[in-house]
């Protein structure tokens, strides 16, 4: 079952997309998008994992100790920040949408058609 974390990442991706497709509330939809994004964290961290490796900080371990992949961790950190920034912007959009349309239900947002 060594592929389990990778599969979990894919599961989170699809669960999040399912939420986006069926969502009845835009705030909830933004939350679903965050679930998709969490899938990418799981994937990146699983890819960077190394059996027997410790955290990649050499403050109190000798050089040459096996560590998990610091690049994958750095990419995840960047991903987290990008995701947080996007979520903030999306929520600002949703808040104004709620104010101007009086609803956050995608089924009721019918201003743009055809």
């Amino acid at each position: 079952m060594s592929a389990l974390p990778y599969l979990a990442a894919g599961w989170m991706l699809l669960v999040g997309v399912h939420g986006l497709v069926t969502s009845r509330n835009a705030v909830h939809a933004v939350g679903c998008l965050t679930v998709v994004q969490s899938g990418t964290y799981v994937l990146l961290l699983a890819v960077g994992y190394r059996r027997g490796g410790t955290a990649p900080y050499f403050t109190d371990i000798p050089a040459g100790t096996p560590v998990v992949d610091p690049v994958a961790q750095a990419l995840t950190l960047t991903d987290v920040v990008v995701g947080a920034a996007l979520t903030a912007l999306l929520l600002a959009l949703v808040l104004q949408t709620a104010k101007r349309h009086g609803t956050t239900d995608p089924d009721a947002l019918t201003g743009l058609r055809g």
């Binding site: 997309v17 986006l20 998008l33 994004q37 899938g39 890819v47 990419l75 999306l90 201003g111 743009l112």
Partner: protein, 630 residues
Amino acid sequence: MTVSPAASLAASELLPLAVACPLTGAALLAVLGRRLPRSGTDALATAWAAGQLGLVWWLAAATGGAGRTVTWVGGWTPVEGRSVGIVLVADGLGLGLAVLVALLVLAALGYAWRYFEEPERARGHGGGFPALLLLFEAGTTGFALTGDLFNAFVFFELMGVAGYALTGYRVEEPRPLQGALAFAVTGSLAGYLALVGVGLLYARTGELAFAGIARELAGQPADALVTTAAALLCCAMLVKAAAVPFHFWLPDAHAEAPTPVCLLLSGVMVELGLYGLLRVYLTVFSGPGGVPHEVMRGTLIAVGTVTALTGALLCWQQRHLKRLLAFSTVGHMGLFLCGAGILDAEATAGTALYVAGHAGVKGALFCLAGVLLDRHASVDEHGLWGRARDMPLVGVLFAVGGCALAGLPPFGTGLGKSVVEHAAHEDPWLVALFVLVPAVTAGAVLRAAARVFGGAGTKPRERHSGAETTGAGEEPEVSGPRREVPRPMLVVPAVLLAGALAVGLVPALWRYVAAGSVVFQDPAGYGAAVTGVPGGGGTGTAPLPEVAWSLPGVLFGLLSTALAAGCAAGALWGPALRGRLARTARAGADALDRTVVLAVRRQHSGHVGDYVAWLLAGLAALTAVFALWG
């Protein structure tokens, strides 16, 4: 290479500034905009954008069409072909796009000079709008120049975030917010899908630079991992490129964004999605162990054909002028996908010129629609019937823009179209597509121009009332509808049209694009330039494609324009025609309308859930195609 070593050395040192310069300018504007008067902010932003244009122009000139400027940021040059840093690779087409972005940002800033009543300054948000434009510029430039897959994701997100904020900028109005929300949700989802693809490739190859990944992939046959990663990355880029069925966000966003922003979104952002797709495909997946050329070619041309036809059909149906222009962008994106999908240097060069010409023409048309919005608080073709007779100059520019959109020689659109047609001469139906789609979209523009500015034809019929956006009752973007139209709002579209004309008239540009396309289509040379390890690349040995006007190209351009005029005339005066033939034609059109057109229109529901479901369906289809034939 035609570049002297000294010049290219300086260019390689200064390359990161193409990204850092607009970033610094945005930070500066955010600070100074709080205190400066409106004109000061505008002047600072315009000066900064002009400086950026000068910088990328110089970089493009120093690199030359046939050159490549490679920079390892932070001085992390590779050791034995492997580095720990990020590489920027600028070639003719990448820098050409950077120049196009810089030109359009300058045009957008100029157009917005007296645009928007400004309630923000009093609350300390004075420099916000121009700062966002510069941030968008930095994101697009970084995306065009990077040679690293994760770095591309970061800049993909930067241009996305700036784009979403700009689209929803007019928060007083409901529809821009809805458009921005659809844009932001699909765009963010696309970014995360790309990141999953990056993660898969990193797991397999342990590399992030395009060239590094390609080198590791070449060692083994392509398997499901590579094809799935390719599908995820292609899907993300196709969402940006608004290919069917990933295109639904585009009309919602482009029709509702502030007009100066539409200029950037339609003129260059969608095209960058296609550029990213090609760049990633050619440098990562085109070698052994990737996705074969025939599969990619077939996929791109199939997707492009569907996109072009859908865009043309829905463009014709619109009465909301900005939405009409947005769907015309979808139609033209389909053509660009087909052109790029041919995957050779000549078609690439033609597509690049077509993109440049289209950016000028489409930008000008959006600017003119903005003038209507300003004067009449409406962009509804039916509601505005004959109401803009007092603006003949705007009407003439609009009609010229329509003809240029059809590919009238000597506009750049016509030249690009003609070069692609020459490259595609073995596929007659592809040539037919390149004649038909511009004709229909330009026909819609000419029809609207004749109705709005000339009051031509019969009063338009109301149809599809439940399934369309009319464009009536919009808020004007400029205060005081009684005042004169600000001069920049007329100068900028005229300049943009002149730019589109220049693309078709300047042979130096043609040579630059031709050389750049050869370099672009040479992955081996790219890998060698990046790693410093000479590969078997044929850099500079491939023959330059011939990029110039040809007799068939001119004739096809004239044919498209004539067809466009015919379409427009048919729509205007067809309903009044008498006789059996006319009646049969009208009955046929109505039947088609009831069966096909309405069904397609209904899919554009404005519902984010629908858009996401279609996106996933497209991703699944790509995964299957690449897995079965890749």
